[in-house]
Symmetry: D2
Subunit: 337 residues, 4 copies
């Protein structure tokens, strides 16, 4: 930690700060410059971060040196983590493709779309049984009934199930059915929910919050890992900016950055990232080209009848076309799909 002092800070104030730091077992180096004096506090930044150093008299600015995350970091683990899910893997050579409807809307529809995406090459079925909706009057999901249909789809197609958990009270229920638990963007900083899923051993697909920095995204993964569950997968799904043409602004630079900072796999959700059907495929192409380990894509047979997110869902034939185009891109970057 570097502590910059205001001009005119007294010797007594410096002594005071020094004392507070050494009390916590931190080594202190003081450098006097022509315009500012700075204190180098050499110790665990994670401990120092807890001290309100900026509040001490004479302090102008405090700058951390070390990163606040540990388990999640590339320094902690050099090689890529590969998350095993049944017979599938996320983070290896093969691109994981999670496809299916936004929400599970009924048994027949789900099984039909499951068959379609399987045929086109998807290796995970996705679908929400619990839906976070902006309006209390909107469709909120089928609950356990939806989970059962997902399980039936898995049995039929062999594809593991990715589904969202919104409430810590549903954890036991969802764990029974899900192969990968999705934590939605709106819950990325729902720390109690993160701890709860950290206690399970089910792989967690953690979506980036609408206003979450990459650093906060890493910290949320650290929450899960700190409870013992090391099976975490990042999902970039767009952030909120001033641009209104798209639903969100898909931040693809997060892909190589997360791969550098962390050993965990990174999946991209172009459906939420842009929110407009015709731009999903180009963004999926770009995601694979810059190193994504997987894709999460909404597919619906009749988007115009979808209960939610119809505008961003691909029809099965468009999805199949996209999968075919992705094969060539994957090959170029040394992956398969």
């Amino acid at each position: 930690m570097i502590i910059v002092l205001r001009p005119g800070t007294t010797a007594q104030q410096i002594k005071h700060i020094e004392k507070k730091l050494t009390e916590r077992g931190v080594a202190v180096h003081i450098s006097k410059g022509t315009e500012r004096t700075i204190i180098g506090a050499i110790g665990d930044d994670r401990v120092l971060a807890e001290m309100p150093l900026s509040s001490m008299p004479g302090v102008e600015n405090v700058m951390p040196i070390l990163k606040p995350y540990k388990l999640v970091s590339r320094e902690f683990r050099k090689e890529n983590s590969i998350i095993k899910v049944g017979k599938e893997k996320i983070g290896g050579k093969k691109i994981a493709v999670m496809a299916g409807p936004c929400a599970v809307e009924g048994r027949k529809r789900l099984l039909a779309v499951g068959d379609e995406v399987k045929k086109a090459g998807a290796n995970f079925i996705r679908g929400g049984a619990f839906k976070p909706r902006t309006s209390p009057y909107a469709f909120q999901g089928l609950g356990e009934e939806g989970l059962k249909y997902l399980a039936e789809c898995r049995e039929r197609t062999g594809m593991p199930v990715v589904t969202e958990l919104m409430d810590p009270r549903d954890t036991d229920l969802v764990v029974q059915y899900a192969d990968v638990i999705q934590i939605g963007a709106r819950n990325m900083a729902n720390f109690r929910l993160l701890k709860e899923v950290g206690l399970t051993r089910t792989p967690i697909l953690l979506k980036r919050g609408l206003a979450a920095t990459i650093k906060e995204f890493l910290m949320s993964a650290e929450y899960i890992m700190s409870q013992g569950n090391h099976n975490v997968i990042f999902c970039e799904r767009g952030i909120r900016t001033f641009e209104t043409y798209t639903r969100n602004t898909l931040d693809l630079s997060a892909v190589p950055i997360l791969k550098k900072e962390s050993h965990l796999p990174v999946v991209v959700d172009p459906s939420h990232g842009v929110g407009i059907r015709e731009f999903v495929a180009p963004m999926a192409m770009a995601a694979v080209a810059c190193g994504a380990d997987g894709l999460m894509v909404e597919v619906h047979q009749k988007p115009e009848e979808a209960f939610s997110d119809g505008d961003q869902s691909l029809k099965p034939n468009a999805f199949a076309q996209m999968m075919s185009d992705l094969k060539a891109i994957a090959k170029v970057v040394g992956r398969t799909i």
Copy 2:
């Protein structure tokens, strides 16, 4: 709902859209312009919002006419809602001042700061027993022990207690101790938690999410009200923007806008809004000047020893000075403090 069609939409496509709309009991008006044809769908926009109209062939754009919220709106209730909390009121002539530490750190400290803020004119004690922290390694709050100290402070000072609820599983516990339940910014779109507190009758202080539009903020209040709890108080606490000088960007224009759109009271939290001690008082002044019904302010006797948010906490004497300055501003806008 206005539906704008692409140039070249066929008569058959228009028929198809018309059919889908009339099936839902919606009246349809078609206007052909020189460059675009538009369809006016006259019905409940809340029903129409559920239809993925943009996905229908030929549709270029869909524009809602009606607002998606109802119970929360000024149209639903013309006069200001005044929320009663024990002997105090929020939303009336008197500005509600909620003051206290960020987190309850111990019995002695809390009671002492409670006495100080009471003396300076605060009428609510605030303090977190459950703390949402970005780092899993940071202080997470005292839990029930903290709630007990808050209750003791209430007994001693007569000030009702405002405290945060983070997890639906803690609702019964927190309801026992809290006079006002705070839903934090990170949980503004935690819809299951909103529903849960909607089932209680305890007043809810709903903080604006970091990336929440005013419309979404209103919708989150609608979630709570739709469950039967009409005692909702908005709290503007800053949004996330590109500016890094301040912790957040305090959006004071939200105050008159929320007062116009809704009948519910609006409180401002300048401590989180700016995140820097010396700018808390000017922002509190501005908040009252533009019509806020209350303030939420972090006060700590030794900010440099605070477990969290020390950098934005006022010392008791600075808080007392601010309260004295606020009296004059309140008077100018026809309020008391």
Copy 3:
């Protein structure tokens, strides 16, 4: 400047960095911590900022200690700068009120609105003769004709003229008519224009760019001052965020922050800040309450006929009412209006 090294940086790499720094006359201190080695480079950060230190092998991160601005800073000049404009002053006890139409639309209209705002207590007439418009097909201003009407208004009312300069080629022309030259938000980083007006001695009202941080805002003022013109006035007019209810998000915290970081006066433009007529007055109240030295307000007699910005223009009677309300707020904060 603090230079943080990556783990595993070699002694040779450190030597290399040390050499590059000492070549520039910078003193170097090296501290080895348990996890990182850091180099303190003690010298002029303005020189160091020019060196691409992050590009040197082994460097993880570079953190400046000193501020990049000088003339504009409170350290350079302790007392408030008061800018004299004819018989008026900006930055003193009296709040400067600049009022008038968005654009000068015609002689008669301008003189009439000038009389009205003067009567209501404004002390500057504002109006654009050159208008930056998003559409090339929109009204672009009357040019010199508009400047002449402004000069006539000044003669008639005694109010100095505030008007925008968009193009360095118009400087000589605008200097002839303007008492204060406005640099619009879209030109805050038009560095050639900043230099040009820095060569004049006319006071400059510098508007904050839509995406400009406070630091960049200060740097733009530094551009002007570095050319010799020290008569700079900041104007906070809202920044662009994800919120779409308002035209911009008015960042009132910029007022006390700029007053702390700089000695220059700060004016607020609530008209552009919110973009909606009915919220202009509450934001003006808030601006004065948190320490603004002035206000810039759009007033139009028939907003529904305005050539631009009609939706945010006050009618003269609403402006007069606002001025009357502001008097009481100004008094509370020790100012007059």
Copy 4:
């Protein structure tokens, strides 16, 4: 244009609005719904946009139907525009690669780097002779001397020159040397400069502003085209968001969106988009994968000695490696490089 009226609007107010509209030659349709009355104004939205309709008594909201841009739009011209620059083309099958230093720093350095990028496959040399710098104390470019070196590089390598114009007064000078004039991000809304280059016939590379929506980006191109210069190339170079890890947030979704909305070519600048050397190549890969017509990349032989943007400049060998990787991606999407 759709005009939504407030509940309780009087018949007289509706008459008034109707009159104002018909005076402008606009056909009016009125629909009365259960909760709102709406007016459909069928005419040129570009004329209607000039009327401050929201200011008319009774109006709640105004929604445009038509797009404000014309010449730039895909409706105006169905097929892709291909911009010819000497023997090169931008917008055709071959990806245009513009590479070189951020700023021209000297003759020898420029010629050397020009040779290198040419060898690696670049087909345009880029370099700034006039540099927009945040600090007035930073290197501001070599001016005409820099332009001469660029011309010399062109003669030597055959690569056309892309260089920035910042000031309308330099237009004649820059036109003499440049094959493509770059308008920088900070000048995207410098409308006088846009008009000026609209009067030339030199191709214009228009960079997206830091806070510019895609719609505003299109409107700025419309400014140039409205003056007669139809040779406009879009350049996505990242927008400003809350994320601080990267210099900007590269919005790659803008590529397919601009290609859909407009017939003009789209180039991506990954160097400014991320601002960190090691993430330039993955973003370049992604850009080509999602349909970019070109790339603009900063290359410097000794980034650690660069006068500006050293941290985001590739070394020649890294650039050559990237070009080789891009070949395969280009092929997949039916392009060459």
